[in-house]
Symmetry: C2
Subunit: 449 residues, 2 copies
C-alpha cells in the first residue's frame, strides 16, 4: 500500500487533556498531518517545519479548516446499533410494556441480515453526527462487524450474553461471544476490537459472570455490562443475592479495571466506593434514562470521585437517535438541574467525557480520544460559520456542548480515511441503506403481527 498523507490546515484544534488539573480541554490554532491511519505531526507554525515541507512535497489531500474546529471524533460508549431499525417503534410507555409488547416480539424476528442493515443505518447516522467509535452490545455481532468493516467506522463489539441460569443457553452465549472475539478482534485494519458482553447481573447467572471474568482474562479483552439502570432491577438483585449489584460482583471477584458498565443510575455510596476502587468505567446515557423514566445517574458525584465517566446514547429505540452532541447537552443540563448547581459538568468536562474518557473506557486510550502525534487519525471538523455557532465563545466547547447538534459536523475522518466530507458520505450508499432499513422494519413488524 502506498503511503497517503492528508494535511488539515488552519484549524482551531480542541484537545482533551489529562496533564492539567484545572483544565479539561486545550485549544489552539494549528495544522495536523495524517500519514495513513495516524497523526504524525501537529503544529501551530506550519511554515517552519516538517509539516510544511511534507505538505508541499507529498501530501495527497489538503483541507483548509479555516473557520472550522478540529477535534477528536466522538466516542459513543454504549449503544445497540442495529436497534436503529426500532427508532420510534414504541415510545411513551412503561419499560415492561415497551420490552414485552414491542421490543422483544420484534427482536424475535431478527437475523444477521437485518442486524447488518441496522448497523449500517447506525453507522451513517454516527458518521454524519461526528461519532467515529461506538461500543456495541447486541446479537448477530459478526454481521455487525461486517457493517463496521464496510462503513469505515471504529467499534468495540460484544455479544449480549443472557442465560437466566440455563446451562445450555450459557454454553451457547460463550460460543457466540468467543466466536466474535476469535473472528473479529483486531480486524478491519484494527478498527474492530471485542469484549465480553454479559447482559446484566439480573439476566446473567453467577456461573456466567464468573466464567466471563476467567475468559476475559484469558482472551485479554474487556467486559461490557448493563449495571444499576432501574431501581427495580437493583431491588431484584438485592432480593436474589442479598447484595446490591456492584457489591455482588465485587464479592464474586468479577470486578477489574477492564469493565465498562452502562447506566449506573441507582448507586449507593458503598457502590461508588467499589467502582472507584476497582476503576470501573461508567457509560452515562442521559436521554435513555430520562425517556424510560429510569432515573438520574449521580454523574457529578462520580466525577468528583475521579471515576472515569463517558457518554453513550443507548439504542435508538430508547433515545431515539445516536447524536452525541445532543447527548452531551443532556448530560450537562441534567446534572445542573439535578444538583441545583450550574457549575456541574461544565462544557470542557463534558467534551472530555465524550472523547478521551470514552477512549479510556474502551481500553483504547493509546489509540484514540485526543489529537496527539502517534494516535489514530479519528478526527472531525465542525463548521463554525453557521447561525448556531455565531458568535463563538472564548471557551470553544460552549457552542459544541450547548448549541450544536450533529448536523454541524462537516467532515468525519476515521483511521485516517475520510468518511464524510462537506456532509457527503464517501464510501456508503446512503439512499440504498435508508431504503433497505425501511423494508427491514416493515418485514420485522409483519413477521411479528
Amino acid at each position: 500500500m502506498e503511503t497517503e498523507y492528508i494535511l488539515i490546515k488552519n484549524a482551531l484544534i480542541l484537545n482533551p487533556i489529562d496533564n492539567d488539573k484545572n483544565k479539561a480541554i486545550e485549544s489552539y490554532k494549528g495544522s495536523v498531518l495524517i500519514e495513513n491511519d495516524k497523526i504524525i505531526e501537529i503544529s501551530n507554525d506550519i511554515s517552519s517545519n516538517n509539516i510544511y515541507n511534507n505538505a508541499n512535497n507529498n501530501v495527497d489531500k489538503v483541507i483548509d479548516a479555516e473557520n472550522k474546529i478540529l477535534m477528536p471524533g466522538l466516542i459513543n460508549t454504549h449503544t445497540h446499533a442495529s436497534m436503529d431499525l426500532f427508532r420510534g417503534l414504541a415510545d411513551d410507555m412503561p419499560l415492561h410494556q415497551w420490552l414485552e409488547e414491542h421490543i422483544w416480539p420484534t427482536e424475535a424476528g431478527l437475523n444477521g441480515e437485518y442486524c447488518y442493515t441496522g448497523a449500517l443505518l447506525a453507522a451513517i447516522e454516527m458518521i454524519k453526527s461526528g461519532t467515529t467509535t461506538f461500543n456495541d452490545m447486541y446479537f448477530y455481532m459478526e454481521d455487525i462487524a461486517k457493517a463496521v468493516d464496510e462503513s469505515g467506522i471504529r467499534a468495540s463489539l460484544s455479544y449480549g450474553m443472557i442465560d437466566f441460569g440455563d446451562k445450555e443457553k450459557r454454553e451457547n452465549e460463550f460460543k457466540e461471544n468467543i466466536s466474535l472475539i476469535k473472528n473479529c478482534n483486531n480486524t478491519a485494519d484494527g478498527r474492530i476490537t471485542t469484549m465480553f458482553g454479559p447482559h446484566s447481573p439480573f439476566t446473567a447467572s453467577k456461573e456466567l459472570l464468573e466464567r466471563v471474568r476467567k475468559e476475559a482474562d484469558e482472551y485479554n479483552v474487556g467486559i461490557h455490562i448493563h449495571m444499576n439502570e432501574t431501581k427495580k432491577e437493583v431491588e431484584d438483585v438485592v432480593e436474589s443475592t442479598g447484595n446490591r449489584p456492584f457489591e455482588y460482583l465485587n464479592d464474586i471477584g468479577f470486578l477489574k479495571d477492564d469493565i465498562i458498565a452502562a447506566h449506573g443510575v441507582w448507586l449507593s455510596e458503598e457502590e461508588i466506593a467499589i467502582i472507584k476502587e476497582n476503576n470501573i468505567k461508567i457509560s452515562h446515557n442521559p436521554c435513555s434514562n430520562m425517556k424510560l423514566s429510569s432515573g438520574i445517574a449521580p454523574v457529578d458525584k462520580l466525577l468528583n470521585n475521579n471515576v472515569c465517566v463517558s457518554i453513550g446514547t443507548d439504542g435508538a429505540a430508547s433515545n431515539n437517535n445516536l447524536d452525541m452532541f445532543e447527548e452531551m447537552k443532556f448530560a450537562s443540563l441534567l446534572q445542573k438541574v439535578n444538583t441545583m448547581n450550574p457549575q456541574s459538568l461544565p462544557s470542557d468536562k463534558v467534551l472530555k467525557m465524550a472523547t478521551l474518557n470514552g477512549a479510556k473506557s474502551l481500553g483504547l486510550e493509546k489509540e484514540i480520544g485526543s489529537i496527539e502525534v502517534g494516535k489514530k487519525a479519528d478526527i472531525i471538523l465542525i463548521d463554525t460559520n453557521t447561525p448556531n455557532f455565531t458568535p463563538m465563545s472564548n471557551i470553544p466547547s460552549s457552542n459544541i456542548v450547548y448549541s450544536a447538534n450533529g448536523s454541524n459536523v462537516n467532515t468525519t475522518i476515521c483511521n485516517g480515511k475520510i468518511l464524510m466530507e462537506n456532509r457527503k458520505l464517501t464510501n456508503l450508499n446512503e439512499e440504498e441503506i435508508l431504503e433497505k432499513s425501511k423494508i427491514a422494519i416493515k418485514e420485522l413488524i409483519d413477521k411479528r403481527d
Copy 2:
C-alpha cells in the same frame, strides 16, 4: 398586489387538534393550497376538486412534498432574540454571577443597531430550525420589529419593563412599551403583534403592574411576564408582599386570560389553582431552567389541570440555541424522569404544545398554530428521507420530538412567503448577518472591558 398561489402536494400533514379528547395530533396524506398569506384549501384527494384545478391553472409554485412532513411552523413562546449575540458569553456559573459579571455589563453597551443585528441572527436561526413565530421581551423593541419585518418571520413583541419602584423609570418604561404598541402593533402585514412586558413581580413595582393591567385592557394587547423562575425570587416576593407571586398578582387584580407567564418553575398547589382559574398561559423553558439550575416546572401537573402550556427556548445566553425541536425533546424527557412516568408528555402532546398551544398563548389561535383553511400559511416541511428519520414510526411526531433537530427542516413558510427552501434562505443575507453579529459582540465586549 397580484394574487399568488403556492401548492404543496403529497405531504404527510401533521395537525394539532382540539376536538378529540384522546388525540392531540391528526395525520393524513394531503395537499395544501396557499393564496397569498392564507391556507385556502386542504385535500387528501387532489385530483377531484378545486385544489387540483387551481393547481393546474393558477398556481405560481408547486412543491412536491413526497417524503416530507408538512406541519405548522413552531411557535417559541419565550425568548430574547437579540441575546443571540450573547451565545456562549458565560456558562456554567451561578445566576447572580452570570447576570452581574457578564450579562448586565454587556447589555449596558447595547443600542438599537446591536439589538437589530442580534434579532436578525436569531431570525436566521429560527427560520433554519422551523420556528415561524416567537414571543420576545427585551429592549430596543422597535429595532427588533424592523428585523422581524425584514426577515419575514412572525413575532409578538413586548418591552421588558423594570422600575424597581422608581417612578421616573416607570414613566420611561410605559413610554417605551406604548410607543412599541402604537408604532408596531399589526404592522409587517400583520406579522407583528405587541404586548406589555412587565419583567417580573420582583423587578416591577405594584404600581407598574397595576397600570400595565389598565393599559393592556385599554390597548387590547396581552401581557408577557416572567413568573416563578427561581426559588429565591419566589421567596423574595413572599418576603416583600406576604404572598407567593401568583397569589400577589391575583390580589392586585392583575390576572386575566391574556397573560403569558414564562417559566412557572416553582408553583404551589394554590398557585396552580389560580393559574387554572384565570386561564393564565405558561411558557415552559426546560433548557434554560436546567442550564441555570432554576428547577423543574410541574408541566405534567399543569397539563393535567388543563392549563395551556407552550414551549420557549429563552434567550441564547442561557440555552444556548433557539432550536425548538431540541426544546421539545428536553420538555418531554425532563417530565418523564421527573415524574418517573414514561407516559408523561407523549410526543403528540409535546408537538401540540409547540404549535397550537403556542398560538393560544399569544392570542393568535385564529391566525396560526394549525393547518386549517382560513389560517395564515405558517408551514414547515421536514425531509423524512434522512438517517435520523429512518424508519418512520406509526406516530409521526415520534421522530419529530425524539430524533429530529432543526436541521431536518427543509422548507419554512411564514405568512405565505417561502423564507427557506431546500435549507437556503430566500430573503436574508446569512453570510453578512453572521459577520455583523461577530463584530457586534466583539465591540460589546470591548466596550465593557
